[in-house]
Structure formats: structure tokens, C-alpha cells
């Protein structure tokens, strides 16, 4: 008896968890496919009677969310590319290249992890304003170009690269730049993919910084555009759900394809140190 009951209870609880996670998301998709006002009746329907793309059409044509989508893509892809190059090079150097003060510098960098980003946000805004970068997409992306966590992640992984390999390349006459690009980066591919996924998702989802740095609607990223829309169309549930689907879809897609890489990145930083 007990042999059946325990696994049954465990899996019942786990399935209940899955329902609790998925219900809001499925409901969001359902409501986003309803015509305006259809979800606000008694009793509220769970599924659209006749699915329609009306809300999405409105978002794209009337409310210009396509532009916000483009802005978000530009910011996230740009930040991802720069983060992979900057943090990749730095992480490799901290792990494999020998220079004076290296380890002390790295230890100092790790201390920065304790500082929450909010402390920097007011002066950062003033700094970018002086540089003329407020209200630009570059200004939104710039603070994500380098991160201590990214450097740390690459370094941990790069520690496993054998020194003999680098020495052999040096003996063959390869320059340090060529070694980094042609020998090391291909070896670091898994951790660089993780870093890319982290940076993309992080910049895509970021809200406070783009909200602060952007004032012109034309440059709004999707989260800022959605939050603004949600403030104006408080009762337009169907439209809001469509906007939410649009905002979540790209990160969900990235996660679906890079899930393993993503989760491995978390545990890389977490447990060992």
C-alpha cells in the first residue's frame, strides 16, 4: 500500500505545481485571443469562443509596439554581443594569462557583486546625461556590456583550459590575440552561450534602467512600452494580455532552446564558491 501512496502523493503535488505555473500563462494566451471586453463578463470565460488576432493587430498597427519590439531586440542583441566579447576576454585573461596583481584585482572585482545596481542608478543617469546618451538605445545597453558575474562565470570555466595548450600555440608562433580568438574562444563556447543567454534575457527583461534613461516614446523598449500602456488602458484586459504575450515570447523562446545552458550557468556561480 505504502509503496503506491507515497509516489502518488508526490506526483499529485508536483502536477498541482505545474498547473499553478501554467494556468496564468495559458489564461493569458486565451484572453489575448478574445475580442475587446469578452473576458470581462460574468462568469469570465476561460477560452475564447472565436479566437481573433484583433488585439495583436491593434498593438502593431495602432499602438506601435512593433517599434518597441525592434528597440528591445537591438538593445538585447547589441548588449549580448558586447558582453560576450568583453567578459569572454576578461574571464579568459583572469583564468589563464599570468600578469602581476591579477588575483588581487579579481578578488576586488568580486566585492562589487555585493553592491546592488540601484545605488548607481541616479549618478549613472547624470553621467549619461552629460555624455548626451540619455534617450538613446546605446545608453540603455551600455551598462550591460560588462558584468562581474559574466567575468566570474567565464573565468571558472576557463580555469579548465590546460596551460600546455596555450604554450604549444605560443611555441608555434601564434600571437596572443590569435590564441584567444582561434584556440580559446572555441573551447569556451559552452560558457559563452550561457553568458549570451543570461545577458539577452537580463537586458530584455530589465525595466528600471530603461524607464529612467528613456523619455521619448520612440525609443521605449517593450517592458517600458507595456508598463506605459498598462497605465493608460487599465481596463483593456485583452489588449494587455496580447502585449504580455508579445513581451514574454522572445525570452521564452531563448529559454526553450538554451535551457540546459541557462540552468548550468546558475549553478556554476552558486554552489562551488
Amino acid at each position: 500500500m505504502n509503496r503506491w501512496v507515497r509516489p502518488l502523493l508526490l506526483h499529485a503535488a508536483l502536477v498541482a505545481g505545474v498547473v499553478a505555473i501554467l494556468a496564468p500563462l495559458l489564461w493569458m494566451v486565451g484572453v489575448s485571443l478574445m475580442p475587446t471586453g469578452a473576458s470581462q463578463v460574468e462568469p469570465p470565460p476561460l477560452l475564447p469562443k472565436q479566437p481573433t488576432l484583433e488585439q495583436y493587430r491593434q498593438l502593431f498597427l495602432r499602438l506601435n509596439l512593433a517599434r518597441a519590439l525592434g528597440n528591445s531586440l537591438l538593445v538585447s542583441l547589441g548588449a549580448t554581443l558586447c558582453a560576450v566579447v568583453c567578459n569572454g576576454l576578461a574571464g579568459y585573461a583572469f583564468a589563464c594569462l599570468r600578469f602581476r596583481g591579477r588575483d588581487r584585482l579579481f578578488a576586488a572585482l568580486l566585492l562589487l557583486l555585493l553592491i546592488p545596481g540601484q545605488v548607481a542608478i541616479l549618478p549613472l543617469f547624470l553621467l549619461l546625461r552629460t555624455l548626451g546618451l540619455t534617450n538613446t538605445l546605446v545608453g540603455v545597453a551600455l551598462p550591460s556590456f560588462a558584468s562581474v558575474f559574466g567575468i566570474f562565470m567565464v573565468r571558472q570555466y576557463a580555469l579548465s583550459i590546460p596551460q600546455e595548450l596555450l604554450e604549444a600555440a605560443r611555441v608555434d608562433g601564434a600571437s596572443e590575440g590569435r590564441i584567444a580568438l582561434q584556440v580559446v574562444f572555441p573551447l569556451l563556447r559552452p560558457v559563452l552561450v550561457t553568458l549570451a543567454a543570461f545577458t539577452f534575457v537580463g537586458t530584455w527583461n530589465d525595466f528600471l534602467w530603461p524607464l529612467v534613461v528613456l523619455s521619448d516614446e520612440r525609443w521605449y523598449t517593450l517592458p517600458v512600452a507595456l508598463a506605459t500602456l498598462a497605465g493608460e488602458h487599465t481596463h483593456d484586459a485583452e489588449l494587455m494580455m496580447a502585449g504580455a504575450v508579445m513581451t514574454m515570447a522572445p525570452v521564452l523562446l531563448v529559454f526553450a532552446f538554451l535551457q540546459r545552458h541557462y540552468i548550468r550557468g546558475l549553478t556554476l556561480g552558486g554552489v562551488k564558491e
Partner: protein, 292 residues
Amino acid sequence: MSERRAGWLFIAPALLLLVVFFLLPVALGLVLAVTDFDIYALGDPSAVRFVGAENFRQMVKNPLFFRALVNTCYFVGVGGTLSILLSLLAALALASPLCRWRGFFRTVYFAPVVLTMVAVAVVFRTLYHPDFGLLNRFLKLFGVEPIFWLGDPAWAMPAIILLALWKNFGYNMVIFLAGLSTIPPTLYEAASLDGASRWQQFWHITLPGLRPTLVFVLITTLIGYFQLFAEPYVMTGGGGPVNATLSLVLHMYKEGFRWWNMGYAAAVAVVLFALILLVTAPLRWYQRRWSP
């Protein structure tokens, strides 16, 4: 190019970016906090004056700041604790030898972590609608009277905590799972041979084995939960009802970027930072003492 030069060259871009766009602003933030930087200073920086502890004095007299402080502590204390407990429970369930389709459950539970907070908040705002929301409809099945979630000062913060649990528990769950996998299974085998109950095994093997993971999770969760912002910004129109969900970061944002009291807002940021350092200090001390 020598290895040494290459080393410096490769860390230079990242280091430069971190110094200019993180370290410098953090340092300037401390300076900003002791000035009266406001909207006039924004136009003419020479109008800034050093005011010492004036911003902090004002803060102590400001009932909004106290509201934000209490609310944030409520969110961190209740929300953070529940979140860690739920994560631990989920991780223990998934790590159980009885568990099947582990990969599937892990993926589904983790998925909300990557979702955009603003979009999730928009969805939950609709979900919490007193008449047409999914939650009240579900509770009605059990005969619960409709709750005015986001409109009732007593329920608004619990509603935000529920959302945070839904969205975040998968993160710590994954970390706990990694921590659990480092505990050698032979310990459990030996314990059950000795007749230890499940509860005893949990108390004497699992929990001590998870100690470093638990400390790490506590630190990161505290830091993360102290930064509550997007949820009240989107769901309660910026801290309502009657400031029941006003958080410290929201208070800072409003003072700094809506009223341009940047000196005062920087002082709020400094207090937030000090609070985080203070609360995590014993944990960090513990971590350093016990890590190999």
C-alpha cells in the same frame, strides 16, 4: 606581445566599462547623497550645495520613507522566507528517488524565472481582478468571498508576495538541487541501515549538507527581494492602495526621477545599500568562516 601585456589588454575593456559605468556612479552616489541636487541643479550644476546629513534628517521625518521601509521589510521577511521554503520543498521533491519526469518538472518550475517581470505583473493584475480575475473565480469553488486583492491595503502586499513566489521559486530550487547533488548518497544508505527515520535523515544529513547552499541562497534572495520595484509600479499604480505597496526603490525612483530630488533619492539609495550590507553581513561572515 607578451602574455602580461595581453592579459592587461584583454581585461581592459571590461574593467574600463565597470569602472566608468558602475564603480564611478556608486562612488558619486555617496557624494550625491550629501548634496541638495534638484531640478535646478539639473539645469545649472553650479547650483548644487553641500548639505551634510540634511537629506538623511529629512528622510527620518518623512512618513513615506518609513512606510516604504516597513513595506520592504515585510516583503523581504515574509516573501523571502516563503520563497526559500517553497524552493527547498520543490528541490527535495524533485531530488527524491521516487520522482519521475524530473527534467520536465524542473523546466516548468524554472520557466517563470526568465519571464519579463513587467509582463508577468500585467498578467497578475488581471488575474487579481475582483470580479473577472482567475484567482477569485478559483477561490469561489471553495466558497471564498471575492477578495479585492490589489485594492485592499491589507491584501495588496500578500498579492505581490504571491506573484513573487510564483515567479522566483524556481531559481533557488535549481540552486538547492545542485547543492543536494553534492551530498553523497552513501550517507543516506548508512543512515537508513542504522534505522534513522526520514525526518532524522533530513535533519542530520540533508540540512548540514546544504548549509553552504542555504547561506548563498539567503544572501542572494535578500539582495534580490530588497530591490522590489516593477511589481508595485505596474500592479498598484506605483505603491497604492494608500502606500501599502510603496517600496524603498519605488520611493527612490519617485523622489529622484519624478520630483528630481536627486540628492534625497541618492540618500535613500545609500540607506538601502547599508541595509543590505547590514542584513547580509552575518551571513557573509559565516560563509567566509565555513567555506574551505
